[in-house]
Symmetry: D2
Subunit: 202 residues, 4 copies
């Protein structure tokens, strides 16, 4: 495992800089958009629920230091990857919580931001748990690849009075094909932003 | 014109925070992806060619301070908007160069990064001018909405030995429609990244 | 109103061949995909629920003659457009039923195929009504632009034992912009196909 | 090889009904849109250049009978597949021309329609050959997956005075993922329509 020096304040670390094994990873461009929708700031406490490889946790940890990212992940292989990737980028502020949300969230410090990347079928419970402890002005950002998760997240957000915004993201990356170049599609992803209060200028 | 305090280090200032008049603006999500592909860093000199409303210049200026963004724009209405938007976000490091690239680039300090958002039909000349003065390790990021601009940029990049990556971006934003929600599509945009050297780990 | 001779057996009549007023129209390419998913055949009875301008009804009527298309539409302006567009293409086998589905479906002959383009908030009732009278081997094809309609249609289809397939369609049309060409996005549409039985080869 | 009875006049035969081996196939939905843009009619002579598995040739042959589809294909494995797929659907009006276009086009009867699915790097030569023999009112429809093919086709079409239309197609198919459903993206495809004359109503 070689240490990586990524000196740029802009998010968007290329996918291949992360160890990933067989664990699903939030792709670079989706990560960038997800981080933007979370409006991170220095000193924040961030949940990363369903952390996978930890690529999002790593990027968030760089942006919120000396704040902390609490990476909640049930799969032990993934937990090891989160730790490895945090070390690779020299980060001390990623704490791995091995366990299944929402149960694993109990006793954690209240978050300023919560990312939900995977919910293991407990999305409503996870949202409810985040809602209970989310700090004033807090934001929940959810990445959904299923129609059902999108539907649940939107319905929940409206019901609870959040300001709801969402994006459907269809991206394709250029790839050489002989002398020519084709587009290789990434699977569609939905990004849902749930904000606890109206923005001050609206 | 009210001053806006946007305290987050993550890019992604909402579109409606900018004054825009009739001038085309790089949409929030495209801006975020474009900034990521540029890998900005503190102290950098950044060209923003075809600056439009200056939304990209404003976001870049926040990220490279005490570096500087040189916003090159031929349309006087747009130049005024760039200045207004820079003031609105309290930025002193956006310099507006009124004129047509590539001619207007003469005499400017060599850039670390160059954004090309509009080329007024002089794309090859602009690319050549950037190429001549781009600092070692420099990156050019181009937003193309036309098929022709995409083709020219890719062919130019390969011919000059750049490492070329590109994205086709199809986004849609959720929008209320009565009790339901539809997706409102943004027009497709291509983001082309031209890097002067192989990444160290490849 | 001039009569149009469209001599091709392939679906895909250009949008501007239809009278449309202020009524929403299923765009040419969405129409083509929707008709394909319905697997129309000569002699079939077809419901077109939420017919709008009748563009889908017109294309279907050409393909199923001497079968019949029953265009169910509550908006009187739209009903007039359906009739006008049917006349324009010389079709005698489009019958307009003015009324709100599912109530308006009562007493109609059982369908081989049902298109649902608009449901006025009564999607479950419409699906149930179609389900009750749909002939063996029948197919329901639904165009959804809202997240909620998509979710309801999928859940309903699975619950009732249909073979469910669906497409998310993101299209953009080339458009001149000076000497260049941009892509103009159509809003995303979901096409849901509900088939009453397994295909014989599966 | 079992004979398939596909009784529907609408195009859109599912992909898995075709034998395909390792040969690239035009996917069902792209085929449907491509056929629509060609405006096929009974009795037409159709070129299918770069026929691949012949899925497009098969669908076109059904629609133009007693016309004929001339499937031009250089890969012997693909030629065998075209023949097999034509037999599978009981079609006598698909003629396979083994060879490389444009050379292989010499001596063929002039076409009413030409599909170009693959060009082996000879796109301009193929377009020129089609142009020379295309019948009055003829239409060329091209499927491009590369940026370069798209650019060449558009530039050629405009230069030769064709009426040019094009689509960028981003589709995703619903796929089960446990109890939920994700979208599986197809790679982006461009469909270019080149028409020899203005439509009569414009």
């Amino acid at each position: 495992m070689n240490r990586i020096d990524w000196p740029y304040p802009t998010p968007g670390i290329p996918d291949h800089y992360f160890s990933r094994g067989q664990v699903p990873m939030t792709k670079e461009e989706i990560r960038v958009l997800t981080l933007a929708k979370a409006r991170l700031g220095s000193g924040m406490i961030v949940y990363d629920i369903g952390s996978g490889t930890g690529s999002l946790a790593v990027e968030a940890a760089r942006l919120v230091a000396p704040g902390e990212v609490l990476a909640v992940e049930v799969n032990p292989e993934a937990c090891a990857l989160v730790r490895e990737n945090a070390r690779r980028f020299g980060l001390k502020n990623v704490r791995v919580i091995t366990g299944m949300a929402p149960a694993a969230l109990e006793g954690l410090p209240p978050p300023d931001r919560a990312f939900i990347g995977g919910s293991g079928g407990h999305l409503e419970g996870i949202l409810a748990a985040c809602h209970q402890t989310l700090r004033p002005g807090g934001i929940i950002v959810l990445n959904a690849i299923t129609v059902e998760t999108l539907g649940t997240a939107l319905a929940w957000g409206y019901r609870r009075g959040y300001q709801v915004e969402a994006l459907a993201v269809n991206l394709a990356r250029l790839e050489p094909a002989g002398r020519y170049h084709i587009w290789r599609a990434l699977n569609p992803v939905y990004i849902v932003q749930l904000m606890t209060q109206r923005r001050h200028d609206e």
